[in-house]
Structures are given as C-alpha cells and as structure tokens.
Amino acid sequence: MSIELLLALITGAALFGVGVYGALSQTNLVMIMMGVELMLAGAMVNLVAFWRYLHPDNPAGQMFVLIIMTVMAIEMAVGFGVAIARFRAKGSVEMEEAAELKG
C-alpha cells in the first residue's frame, strides 16, 4: 500500500463528494452539469491512479480515461442542447421551475 496511491484515491473521493454536493444542491442546469463534471473528474483520477500504481503495463487503463473524457464532452453537448431548448421554451434553466417534469 503506497501513500501516493492513497493520496490519489482520496483526491478522487473528495472531488466526487464535491461533485455530488454540487449536482444535488444547485438549482441551475449549468451548475448541475459542473457538479457532474467534477464527479467524472474524480473517476478519472482513480483510473489514472490504478493504471499507474497497479497495472502500468496495461494501456487499457489509459484508454478508459479517454472514454471518460468523451463522456464529459457528450454530457456537455447534450446538456447545453437541452439547456438552449429549455431556455427558448421557458425563458430560464432553473430546475425549481421545471416541476412539470415530475412524474
């Protein structure tokens, strides 16, 4: 058990925690997306740390980080598309005002 691996994992956990807080507490769609980005960043740190300290010979670990970057980009693109459509239709992207989406 190395201290560096632990440091990296704790960083990942902290970023994930901050991201969860942000995604749940913010009322604006764009801010919620920022929370999600932070959660994904936390996952990314973990993947790099596992690749570096446990399986440095296997490049698949690095590939997963690339996939997560793709997921971040997709999340941004779709999120902003939805945000623009919502802003056109309702004039705001505040989630408090989106109560009609409740089932």
Partner: protein
C-alpha cells in the same frame, strides 16, 4: 509524492470554489483550474499523454461552459450575491457520505503490491495508440460514433425552430413563437 498531494489539494480546493463563488465566470474558470490541476497531477503520476490531453481539452470545454453560464444565469457577475441552491443539508450530507465511503474503501482494501516501474512516455504513447486501434478499436470507434450522434442530437435540439437561414448574410426571419423576442412583440401589440 509532494506534487501529487499538492495538485490534488489544488484540484479539490478549486472544486469547492466552483460552488462557493457568486460570479459565474469565476465559477467556470475555477472548474477549469481544478481540471488543470488534475492534468498536472496526471503528469506527476507519469501519465504524460493523458495529462497534456486533459489540460488541453478542459480549457476549451470550461471556457464554453463560461459563456453558457453568462447566457443562462440571471446574475452572471455575482454582484447581487443571490443564493442559487436548494436542499442544502441533504446534498451536503450526500456529498460527505459519498466522500467518506470512497475513502473508507480506498483505505481498507488491500491493493496489493504497488508497481514502481512505468514505461517511459514515448513508449506509453505507442502502447496507447496500438491499444486504441488494435484490441479496443470497437470501443474507441463506438465512442467516436456516440460523440457524433450527440453533436447532431444537441444541434437538432438546440436549433431555433423556423430559422432556415444557412449563411450568416441573410437576416433571420423573426419567428413569432420565440419567447426570446416576446418583449418586442408585446410592444408591437400595445
């Protein structure tokens, strides 16, 4: 080790700043610097390609985020110090619980022996390229197709209904069902 801790701390600190500042541009750029610190952390973990890629991609992404923040927030400058949060206690609790759970897993799991030797950066890049276009090609291609689909879908969702001008020279026809220019219409009706 010092650098990993330092950049990790910087990343987390900037991550917290994202939700503590009132200025939306500051918020987006704090997220950018959080991601940049992560990129530096990757560099100090000897994942050179990923670190540089992270630093490069996030700068563009977060700058675009900044302009969307300015477009969609009521108070982008943060001068009114408006509270934009809800269910604070629940989300704080959820954040802390997930942090503690993840740390507990990290501490109590036996990760086994830690590798000390890492292939050098040039070799890593070669390996990654062969991995992407060899064994994992299907995954990589799927990611590419997915991002293309997402681009098209996002554009299709976001495009203004009724606007059919393709070049910038032509003036857009004023659509009547667009709330963005509802103010102007109301004036006309009066």
């Amino acid at each position: 080790m010092f650098f990993i801790g330092f950049f990790g701390l910087a990343a987390v600190w900037f991550g917290i700043v994202v939700f503590r500042t009132f200025s939306m541009v500051r918020s987006a750029l704090a997220l950018l610097f959080s991601q940049t610190a992560l990129g530096a952390m990757f560099l100090s973990m000897q994942a050179e390609f990923l670190g540089v890629l992270q630093i490069m991609m996030m700068a563009t992404e977060m700058s675009i985020m900044a302009i969307f923040m300015v477009m969609f927030m009521m108070d982008p400058g943060g001068l009114g110090e408006m509270d934009m949060t809800h269910q604070k206690r629940l989300s704080l609790g959820a954040g802390i619980v997930s942090f503690v759970a993840a740390v507990a897993v990290a501490v109590f799991v036996d990760w086994g022996p830690v590798a000390t030797v890492v292939p050098d950066a040039a070799q890593q890049t070669i390996d990654l390229g062969l991995e992407l276009l060899g064994r994992s090609m299907l995954i990589f291609e799927t990611a590419g197709i997915t991002i293309l689909t997402a681009m098209i879908a996002a554009t299709a969702v976001a495009i203004q209904p009724g606007a059919n001008s393709t070049t910038s020279h032509r003036r857009r026809p004023v659509s009547t069902n667009n709330p963005l220019d509802s103010g102007m219409r109301r004036n006309d009706e009066r």
